[in-house]
Symmetry: D2
Subunit: 391 residues, 4 copies
């Protein structure tokens, strides 16, 4: 199936099966049906050949590269529930990518295949409450201690997306060095029902469209056998990079879809509503909001595609993905905010889907690295490059 | 009691009685207790001499002018529930102001005194769904027809704040001319239990701190006797102006308090949280966010006070209040947004009160005139003034 | 020669031959030597195989497509004088493009070849003073009247770049319809020494790097023989479109180079200058300025390349070039402004080249369509597309 | 004379005597006549009772407080040459203020009186090239050594406004401690013709309206007798504060006048020029630019007046003046930039006075403390205040 066709079919699927439910429940996935709803959708998506299209072919996906994913995932993201309906939502989407690159054959069979098929969900347990690993991964405090036949993990994680109801976890824990050191993290796989994993609470965030929420977890003497070490010991930060760049970009793809929907809803509203004797959409200030949205969407997609081309060419693309993520997070928030403004009173209500999109988008300027942290590293790199060239 | 003391006591009251409940219920007034909670608070406030301090002295208030209100209302607004606890929340606060200026003695006794005392709440029924009166008041379609001994009103209103559970309504209806004409509106008073008033639904808005919500109403053959006409027939737009300027400014006062709280919470967070080896609050980008908040808050207050001075001097101050409202709505939203950003992941959660403040503030850029409509009239006036002077 | 090599050689040429003179004369081309200097540079560039590389191969160029031009022209633009040194400056660069597409063989020989070779310069006489053709081309008032053996042109033009000293003009004049009508313009070629062409004055603009300045012209009974009609009669607006899209994009390319230089100069300054105990470039607010510059440059290039790909594929790309031009003009101005700010007091002086770059860049937000006019048409198109799809 | 009358007369004077010359010479004071022109204007201003109205009464001024100065100085600033014409330009205006507070009676006679009368000009020699005193005054390197009967000064200064042709200098030099220490600066008075003072060069800045330019100076074994020490030894930083707050605010006053002129010129242009069938000033995007200018001007004045009230009440008002200066510098630059944009092609030319105003205003975001340095200290203060209150 060509990408253009995949895009068209994704678009139809979202409009036929997902969008109404999204609107009816104001983007609240738990209210809409939670995991049961997810399973129902993913079954339909599998029949339609649209499930986890980015996954490797041997696991049931279409093995789409990053550039090819862009338009498909944007269509999925047109509904807040679209990505989960098609099994291309965070964190599973990124975990599929990670496992495809790092898992052993046995891990591939046990963890990856059922994840692609939607038989279970997963969570990526890296972020920790202060003073642990947040923007600064080197602060990692969750520790894995060598024990007979494996490792014993203790620590606390928070903002772990999808944790409640996840089938298994990918856990980042320190295996050497001290908090503040860069080196020495390892990734571990652990089924959710293993003793020593407690989902302590849901953190009540403003976004509500993620199945399984954003949770706080505690690991207490959690045992992980050697065969569930993901990749090599002490190479966790390196694997995190494998996941990081693409995951940043697929977030951008999905949120571009959501922001585009807000934009289109606002345009339709502005062209139907009259003010001061003409359609709202003909007034200069409304046109400015609309044009700025077009510009922000175009620039987001352009930066995204440049970064995806780099990733598809096998580069780590840290700078390109960091710039694209930072720009996109801010631009797409502006798009949603302008859409709200264009819709006036209805824009802050649930009568139109723009307020909920604005609400869901806001955390993107913080999740996956706050804009300030990205800017810090973008600048550091720029100074290094330019001063080196100037010497 | 001097204003400075009033400010201090308001501050104490909010911290002692209101703030914890606000945080516990994430700013959702219905979840927190709704109208019952309001009555409990207002009883306490009355004992403390802090109830409706702007109301006229003969009705039980302190008759504070606009400048004197500013700091007091800012302290009230420090909690999202503070204004209602002290009976200085919209729409009652503005309705008190309006009735004080326009009501007859009989209306004053029947409607104003119990409103000041918190014995009932009120609503101001002006805004209509498209194509009725929104940003353009001349589009007013709700109509009052002369009948024996009074008027009969038919029409539909929406975004009527506090309507559910209100004791009475101030209703704006057309008494001459056609929709699109400027002239010919009249204000009517009507107890909520009178036949012909239906609160059709709550409009589900992103803000949740207003008792009685934002509602859609239908008036069907509502009879209003002559003694309940507020002011003179066909002078409704003029009285709306009496309410408008001060109401804009008291909104600014209250929201300044809310934004200041978000700012202070973010500063405390940033000074306790460490990142990259130093307190977050010492990093340049964090300082920029903090400084920009200080600047936005200072400019908001400065514009507010200039406008209040004009109002206290007896001017209509349309330009000054329009500028102050527009600037404030945007500036205070920036303040809340920066506070969210400074708090990182916790900033988009209910663990800190910044996300809810951002949520409650967003509609202020639309309510009481979207920024675009204000800019339109600010510019028109500027062009008229400058080209006249240049001739 | 591959593009990468062309880029590298362009870079060397600019640094070896042009940049010092640019700095010594603060970007003032007349002070630096004007047309004589241009000829000297273009002779060197021809020897180096770097002259008018975008020109068609049969005329002596390398026939580079739009995507290939991007990096080369950016290197040329690194110096304000680079584009003219390499004969890729406006308006000659765009006129070469236009003539290549529209000129007859005879016109090609007479006008295009010597233009590519740098034997003369040209000007494109379209914009008129109010109430003539400015942002709205349909207001065209300069008129050509049919006379025996050709046409007689009367009218006034202004902001005609390079007019003083140009060897010939391409003149847009109305050949049917009235000012306010869309249709009926024709392009004419006219040697500058033909009777009836008066360069009335240089308009004193803030930018000073263009050879021949921005001039006001008057055509008085200017005779143009039939063989100097460029393309078909009444098809002038269509040919203007042929020139327009690519010309917008090559402006972006060149100005990206200039903005990048300001950015790099600022980085070097900030890494050498210390403040409050560390290099300026390590402070958070400086890093924010630097990162924002990186983001703006990256987004500019990404949008530019998308538009160039469309143009190379044979599309008119009006939307893509309009978005890219609007974004770039604003983004590159921000880059230059931040560079000035980073350099502190020296940033507003001629000691560093950042102030002059800011000065030269400012008009780009107005020339080739003010941002507001572009936004107007971007929005109109978006509303048409979205409402059509929504039906 | 009441302030309102003073404002009106200042306005008339500027329009009658100054504005045309400003426009004719594109704001270049040296081209317009330099110091000779200044003397001519100041003689006229003295006759009109408008010379140095802020100066103390015993020296010939009207002793206006800060609030009263605001509207007068804004009128003066309406022309770029207005402040110098009325002897209220930097640096003389601030030096008058400083000398009034610190000078001995003898110094008052010798330096202050002739300065108020316009018999000579002065310069304030504080800022040094890197690594000396710039944003960080503690880096002061110019040193004064105790010698028989006075002090001997050696050092280098730059960006010394008005130095070329100044009659005397106020020199800040270190009298104890080392560069990097806070303490130990002293102010010295020195006639310009004293041996050891060299005006090395004019720094070529983008602004051109200051008589005497911005210069680089070298002091070589400059002898200053004890009677020319200004204030007490080692108290220089304290006196600098006396000058600093008011000087910041008078800058704001003057530049508000300049920005207002750009705004008014743009409004007149936009109301005369038609585009797409209506006056430009009626189009929504133009109205947005105009409204934003009104808002920025109003907020600037509001912040300015709050700070002036604090200063008039005898406070140092560091926070208020820092906020007002930072906001104003950015807001007024936005105003000028929008005025340029509104005027289209003419906006970047010398045909209208908006481009020159934009050019003159740009350095204000850097002079008297770059915005970044102000933000740094605003935030530090805010964090200290809020965390202290939260404890």
């Amino acid at each position: 199936m060509r990408v253009a066709e995949l895009v068209a079919r994704t678009r139809e699927f979202i409009r036929a099966e997902v969008l109404d439910i999204d609107d009816r429940y104001d983007g609240d996935i738990e209210a809409a049906g939670g995991d049961e709803l997810r399973v129902r959708w993913q079954t339909l998506a599998a029949k339609a050949g649209l499930l986890a299209v980015h996954a490797p072919v041997d696991c049931g996906g279409l093995g789409l590269g990053m550039v090819d994913r862009a338009a498909v995932f944007e269509e999925a993201g047109y509904s807040l529930f679209g990505p989960v309906a098609l099994n291309v939502a965070a964190p599973d989407e990124g975990n599929i990518h990670l496992l495809d690159h790092v898992a052993t054959e046995a891990q591939r069979d046990r963890y990856l295949r059922p994840l692609v098929a939607g038989e279970w969900r997963s969570a990526f347990a890296m972020t920790e409450p202060a003073p642990g690993a947040g923007s600064d991964p080197a602060a990692l405090t969750t520790a894995a201690r060598r024990v007979d036949g494996g490792w014993q993990i203790n620590g606390r994680k928070h903002f772990i997306t999808g944790a409640d109801g996840a089938g298994f976890f990918i856990i980042m824990a320190r295996t050497s060095g001290e908090p503040g050191d860069a080196g020495g993290a390892t990734m571990f796989l652990a089924p959710a029902d293993r003793q020593g994993i407690d989902v302590v609470r849901h953190i009540g965030t403003m976004d509500r469209s993620m199945v399984g929420g954003h949770c706080e977890l505690v690991f207490t003497d959690l045992f992980v056998p050697d065969e569930d070490v993901l990749g090599e010991v002490d190479q966790g930060f390196r694997y995190a990079q494998v996941r990081l760049g693409p995951a940043r970009m697929t977030h951008v793809m999905r949120w571009t879809g959501a922001a585009r929907r807000a934009h289109e809803v606002a345009i339709v509203h502005a062209s139907e509503r009259r003010a001061f004797g003409s359609p709202l959409a003909d007034l200069g200030m409304a046109r400015q909001l609309i044009a700025d949205n077009e510009i922000d969407l175009a620039a987001t997609r352009a930066l995204l595609l440049r970064a995806c081309e780099e990733l598809d060419a096998g580069h780590r693309a840290s700078k390109a993905t960091s710039i694209a993520k930072t720009f996109a997070a801010e631009a797409l928030n502006r798009v949603a905010d302008r859409a709200v403004q264009l819709c006036g009173g209805l824009g802050v209500s649930a009568d139109l889907p723009v307020a909920k999109i604005a609400r869901e988008l806001r955390p993107f300027r913080i999740y996956d690295g706050p804009s300030e942290v990205h800017r810090w590293s973008i600048a550091r790199r720029a100074v290094a490059e330019v001063t080196k060239a100037a010497r």
